[in-house]
């Protein structure tokens, strides 16, 4: 990795030689002067908090300790032991896995299907689809959650009125956020709505980049449309799909705003808690800052693991840093 010239780092065609001449005498300090502002900010507001997160997770840190009424006590791995011994933690972990997994699968499915569809649409229809997707993509999580909540409101929501209007009984005043999985489903629908556009646009760009000759050759050999998609296009698109899959995993595991807003901070009796909201509530609602930090550490490790898998996947596809 270190041996590659800098020129290889920047993507995009049409570049003419960006390789710095190796023997050129440059001040050794110079790059560090340019780096200083960014490094200072990152060290202070990301590095130090990250260190503190781990640090606090080893202490019994609650309201009395915050105000200084009781001394800080180092408790080692106690917070983690408490966490692992708490059935609620495992429920929350399971919720997170099922919810994030469902969101990732649905996002990929919708995104890829619509991308394939988009390549075969009339330009006007395609523009309409992309504009709509752009709108969903741009919508802030808070306002998106608000609109979806309104659409699914028990009494005033459009969905229940249409369903009752169609003659389906039981939807009058039906609460979509009352049942655990119904609530997760509703939040998941909002998440898919605002995150499938990234997948669609990226995969669409990937499909356009496939050389026409390859597809022509496969067609001449008599490949049917499904076979063309499955055996020719998908293998070529694998790097793109890997990238969006891992990005989706990272984003969906971290979902906070939608759950917090749509289920009112974690649902009835905390039935809709995911790891992120759980940690937040433990810290800021129950003042268990040490325990909250331990949850944060667990979450960071999980995501770090995913990121490493991601980096390895990229390395395998021949990307260079």
């Amino acid at each position: 990795m270190t041996a590659t010239p800098v020129a290889a780092a920047a993507p995009g065609p049409g570049r003419t030689g960006g390789t710095p001449s190796a023997g050129r005498a440059r001040g050794r300090l110079e790059p560090w002067i340019y780096l200083a502002p960014a490094l200072l900010v990152l060290a202070g507001l990301m590095g130090y908090p990250l260190y503190q997160l781990v640090n606090v997770s080893f202490f019994d840190y609650r309201q009395p300790q915050v105000t200084g009424a009781e001394p800080l006590e180092f408790t080692g791995l106690d917070n983690y032991a408490r966490l692992l011994g708490d059935p609620e933690f495992w429920t929350v972990l399971g919720n997170t896995a099922v919810f994030a997994g469902g969101c990732v699968l649905a996002t990929l499915l919708v995104g890829v299907l619509l991308a394939v569809l988009a390549t075969r649409l009339h330009p006007w229809v395609r523009t309409a689809l992309f504009l709509a997707a752009l709108g969903a993509w741009a919508t802030p999580a808070v306002t998106g959650s608000a609109v979806w909540l309104f659409l699914f409101d028990p009494t005033l929501g459009l969905v229940n009125q249409v369903l009752s209007g169609l003659g389906l009984s039981g939807f009058e005043g039906h609460s979509w956020t009352y049942g655990k999985w119904s609530a997760f489903g509703l939040v998941g629908a909002e998440v898919v709505w605002c995150s499938f556009p990234l997948v669609m646009v990226t995969v669409y760009a990937g499909i356009l980049a496939i050389p026409q000759e390859v597809l022509e050759a496969a067609r001449l050999d008599g490949a049917s449309a499904p076979r063309l998609v499955w055996h020719v296009m998908l293998p070529i698109l694998r790097p793109v799909i890997t990238t969006v899959t891992i990005l989706s995993i990272i984003w969906d595991v971290k979902i906070f705003t939608q759950i917090y807003v749509m289920t009112g901070g974690g649902g009835i009796a905390g039935q809709n808690l995911v790891l992120n909201v759980y940690g937040y509530q433990q810290a800021f609602a129950a003042n268990q800052y040490g325990l909250g930090s331990a949850i944060g550490v667990v979450m960071t490790l999980l995501l770090l693991g995913t990121t490493l898998v991601y980096l390895r996947a990229l390395r395998r596809t021949g990307e260079e840093l």
Binding site: T2, V6, A9, A10, P11, R15, T16, G17, G18, R26, P31, L35, P37, A38, V41, L42, L45, M46, Y48, L50, L53, V56, L117, R120, L121, H122, V125, R126, L131, A132, A133, G135, A136, T139, V142, T143, A146, F150, L151, L156, W193, V201, T202, A205, T243, I250, K254, Y260, N276, G279, Y280, A283, F284, Y289, S293, G296, T300, L304, L311, L321
Partner: protein
């Protein structure tokens, strides 16, 4: 394949495909349409559960109510101040860092690049707890940067915008030919002069795109606004204002939707402005 030589079944399939595409576009766009429509419906109709997909008497009452009674304008300005400050600070830091990482070779360069990549994956939400205490202590020394002040949001968002911005700007800065720098050096321009006078204008489009991404992520933030601005309601930002319309029993849906429209429109405009860079930027950010 032109339309003329298509067989009848192929044409029928074309209609079916385009019909499906159009339907998908409508479904995807519908929540946004419903948001705008509900903001324009008269309050009485909305509270009676009017499910008509149009309104014959659009009214701006909800917007007036939101802007005057609830002091939404103030929150709007707060959000704008925070977002613009973050854009300025984070793009400046990121641009300089991108210059160092693409135009110099030095020890630790690769390590720093990997760090930048990993920094993008750090679960920001988990850092809320230590950041809360850090900002509380900072507020003791510099009140304007502490809890309950906009400065706290600016600081935190600047930090979290920088890794993505560096990653994205790297491509733009690296694309400027080295010969240009050598020519500038022959003409007697020092390194700083070259960066400020020649490099910066050349990568301006990238800087703008990058700035817009920082703007959007800051503008949309809910978590930090909720955590760090606890008691100073005059320093709240838009997301909290929108949530303020949720009442335990009687949600003011007209107000919520009008507030949502006001919050969504700026982002939508910016998004359309940078849509060309979206894929390129993400590809750069994601794949390096």
């Amino acid at each position: 394949m032109t339309a003329a030589c298509r067989s009848a079944p192929a044409r029928a399939r074309g209609w079916l495909l385009n019909g499906t595409g159009l339907l998908a576009a409508l479904v995807v766009a519908f929540p946004l349409y419903w948001m705008v429509l509900s903001a324009l419906k008269p309050r009485a109709a909305l509270e009676a559960g009017d499910a008509l997909p149009y309104t014959t008497e659009p009214s701006l009452d909800a917007f007036v109510r939101v802007l005057s009674v609830e002091g939404f304008g103030r929150y709007f300005v707060n959000s704008l101040v925070v977002a613009l400050a973050v854009v300025g600070l984070s793009t400046l830091c990121a641009f300089l860092a991108a210059v160092a990482l693409t135009r110099f070779r030095f020890r630790l360069r690769t390590t720093l690049l990997v760090t930048v990549l990993v920094a993008q994956m750090v679960p920001v939400e988990a850092l809320t707890i230590p950041l809360f205490f850090l900002l509380r202590n900072l507020g003791g020394a510099v009140p304007a940067l502490g809890l309950n002040h906009l400065g706290s949001l600016i600081l935190v968002h600047t930090a979290f915008s920088i890794p993505f911005a560096i990653w994205m700007l790297r491509g733009f800065v690296g694309a400027v030919p080295q010969e240009l720098e050598e020519a500038a050096a022959i003409d007697g321009a020092g390194s700083f002069r070259f960066v400020a006078r020649i490099l910066f204008p050349l990568v301006a489009p990238g800087v703008v795109a990058c700035g817009i991404f920082s703007f959007i992520s800051t503008w949309n933030d809910f978590l930090f606004a909720q955590t760090f601005i606890i008691s100073a309601s005059e320093n709240q930002t838009l997301p909290i204002a929108v949530l303020g319309f949720f009442r335990p029993d009687e949600n003011d849906w007209g107000g919520i939707m009008a507030g949502s429209v006001l919050m969504t429109v700026p982002v939508l405009i910016f998004f359309i402005a940078v849509q060309r860079h979206l894929v390129a930027g993400l590809a750069g950010a994601v794949k390096g």
